[in-house]
């Protein structure tokens, strides 16, 4: 099988830089705009795309992504339509990895076996299911991997040595380090601690490590890019979409692209300046 995630991290390594991982909520503010945003992300500098699957009760998310979920649901998004979005995206981009990120219940309602098969067929590369820890891996991790999808695990500041084996065992694609104990869109982690955590994860998991939570500006993105294989930006982009939708803007994809270009420049500057130094 083609492994877009592995190929992308290999290419990033060759370029000597970290990747920019952008998160948007699928169907936000509506399906057509969301498709246009998605299509604009790779050219703007997104190396990997996380596509949020809306849920009525996003318990691990802060206000920005909660509101995005409700906007998308109000506009009629569903898991089936999200797979359609991915299929359409794949018609013009067969290289940029797409990871679906969300909560388990919509997948459970869709039917796990049907979902992993349909997701793989649509061109999804991996899953992050926030509320399924390794203890419940049989529910979705096992069937996802069997269907050829990566199952990306989260590690957090509460992941101690005792917990590490559970987190890295059967993780695939990459590891996502949540740099603070908290919800999305809040504070970001302190650099020394994040750097140390990334090193521990890389040693334990032998996988690329991306870092997220609270990263909003090109400067923050650059700082994190010096520490990890990838930098995740979510709430900042989602807030921009929310604000633009509220004011009735018609150029939302262009605004998102402009923000992502800035973040990408930050990420790309980080490793080259390190090389220069």
């Amino acid at each position: 099988m083609s492994d877009r995630i592995a190929a992308r991290f290999t290419a990033l390594k060759e370029e000597g830089r970290a990747g920019l991982v952008t998160f948007i909520t699928a169907g936000d503010p509506d399906l057509a705009t969301s498709a246009a945003i998605l299509a604009a992300l790779p050219a703007a500098g997104a190396d990997i795309i996380e596509l949020g699957v809306p849920f009525t009760d996003p318990m691990a998310d802060g206000p920005a992504i909660q509101e995005a979920n409700l906007r998308a649901l109000a506009a009629g998004i569903s898991l089936r339509k999200i797979l359609g979005l991915v299929r359409d995206f794949r018609a013009t981009d067969d290289a940029t990895p797409i990871v679906l990120m969300g909560y388990f219940n919509p997948i459970h309602a869709y039917g796990v076996d049907a979902f992993v098969a349909d997701a793989r067929a649509a061109g999804v590369d991996g899953l992050i299911v926030v509320d399924v820890p390794p203890e419940e891996d049989i529910e979705i991790g096992v069937p996802a991997r069997a269907a050829g999808l990566h199952f990306v695990r989260l590690a957090t500041p509460t992941t101690d040595e005792k917990r590490m084996p559970a987190v890295v065992n059967a993780a695939s694609g990459f590891l996502y380090y949540v740099s603070v104990a908290g919800i999305t869109g809040g504070a970001t982690g302190e650099a020394t601690a994040v750097g140390a955590a990334v090193e521990r994860l890389k040693a334990a998991g032998n996988l690329p490590v991306v870092v997220g939570f609270g990263i909003k500006t090109p400067e923050q993105a650059a700082a994190t890019a010096r520490l990890a294989d990838g930098v995740v930006v979510g709430s900042a982009i989602v807030s921009l979409i929310g604000e633009a939708a509220r004011t009735g803007a018609t150029d939302i994809p262009a605004r998102v692209a402009a923000m992502v270009s800035g973040l990408a420049a930050g990420v790309r500057s980080a490793r080259s300046s390190e090389v220069a130094a």
Binding site: F55, D57, M59, A60, D131, E135, E136, T158, G186
Partner: protein
């Protein structure tokens, strides 16, 4: 083959296909610590001694088992007993669990308490134990529930708790639980989350059940003393289900005892305005456990409706989901209207103002007791007092307080 209904959950927190631990990774180490702390506490006579001492001297247990003589005469069938959890300190069964959990919090060295509340009973009970042990306390409560339950909100504030209104989603219990989980994941290092019902990630359903089982253990002794035999039926209202599982659990292996969990049918099961997750829901995952949920075909959670804020939740504890699936307990509905009639009848005939939650259990008894024989012993959990609900009833009757 199943040889006991009381053996669950398994070591991974599953009751059959239900339960489990569906939480963000940040919380997993703490959930595992909590389980270890609970296992140790259960074996520790000092912990048990402190728990029982507080139940006796602070809560006022044992609560009475009361023969509802006039209601029995009025209905003309089964002999009806009330387990009087309304007589507990703070006026409901919720305090039993809060005492147990705050002792666990202290044992784990946690210094800050959070909780969610629907009707405000669990919020009041949590604020009460936090005051008793001198710990700061934040209560999350849906903005809509804050309106419906103003006296309880004031009580919590008097007890020194901070009540944070939750304005997301349906602004009721499920949203308060989301917000409490968000607080917990952010403050996991020092914070203990006192969950109010027998739901959430393992080990909460188990430990809440164990702390509430004092209800059923006492009731069993008391009915044996009063009647010389076990009851023929147990009846309790079910929202999340902690008062019901507390009553039922010690009787689960007594095959002669029938059990009825009464779900809130709101405006009726044929409408979308109800909170009956077993009768009208399907299995899914929410708030840390797999259980029956009110949801649409896409797995999006529906808003529950009940006149009783304490039953206004789109899920149910996982052990109830399992007891439903194996058929040991029958789950039956009662509507808003039936509950209000039952509330009024109990108040007039017995001189007891019941909480609207347990008025649903009473509504089922009113419907079924007349057809039962006069030697049928029916034991109902009168899980809380109804003073908190008089505003709702006054509105309904068009009375301005």
């Amino acid at each position: 083959m199943l040889n006991s209904y009381r053996a669950g959950p398994d070591e991974r927190g599953h009751f059959g296909a239900f339960g489990g631990r569906y939480v963000a990774e940040t919380l997993m180490p703490l959930i595992l610590d909590l389980e270890a702390a609970y296992r140790a506490a259960r074996q520790d006579p000092a912990f048990q001694g402190e728990f029982e001492g507080l139940l006796r001297h602070f809560v006022g247990r044992p609560s009475a088992l009361y023969y509802a003589e006039r209601l029995t005469e009025h209905l003309g069938g089964a002999r009806i007993y009330f387990k009087r959890e309304d007589l507990n300190h703070t006026g409901a069964h919720k305090i039993n669990n809060c005492i147990g959990q705050i002792l666990l919090a202290r044992r784990m060295g946690k210094t800050r308490i959070i909780a969610e509340t629907g009707a405000g009973q669990h919020g009041v009970a949590t604020a009460t134990v936090a005051a008793r042990f001198g710990l700061p306390c934040v209560i999350y409560m849906g903005a809509r529930d804050i309106e419906r339950q103003a006296p309880n909100v004031f009580r919590m504030k008097l007890l020194g708790a901070e009540v944070r209104p939750v304005t997301s989603g349906s602004q009721t219990l499920k949203d308060a639980m989301n917000e409490a989980l968000r607080d917990w994941v952010t403050n996991v290092h020092d914070t203990f989350y006192i969950i109010g019902t027998a739901a959430g990630p393992h080990p909460y359903p188990e430990l809440v059940r164990d702390f509430q089982s004092v209800i059923g253990r006492e009731a069993r002794e008391q009915i044996l003393a009063a009647e010389g035999r076990l009851p023929d039926s147990l009846v309790a209202a079910v929202g999340g289900g902690s008062n019901a599982i507390g009553l039922f659990h010690p009787f689960l292996d007594d095959p002669s005892v029938q059990m009825f969990g009464v779900e809130a049918a709101g405006h009726g099961l044929d409408t979308e305005q109800h909170a009956a997750s077993l009768a009208g829901g399907t299995p899914g995952v929410l708030h840390g456990n797999k259980t029956y949920l009110l949801q649409d075909a896409d797995g999006q959670i529906s808003e529950a409706h009940s006149i009783s804020a304490g039953l206004d939740y789109p899920g149910i504890g996982p052990e109830h989901a399992w007891l439903h699936s194996v058929g040991r307990v029958s789950y039956v509905p009662a509507t808003d209207q039936e509950a209000v009639s039952a509330f009024q009848l109990c108040t007039r005939v017995e001189g007891i103002i019941p909480a609207l939650e347990c008025a649903h259990a009473l509504a089922y008894i009113i419907r079924t007791a007349p057809a039962l024989s006069r030697d049928h012993l029916c034991l109902m959990n009168l899980s809380g007092r109804g003073d908190k609900d008089i505003g709702t009833i006054a509105d309904l009757l068009g009375v301005k307080l």
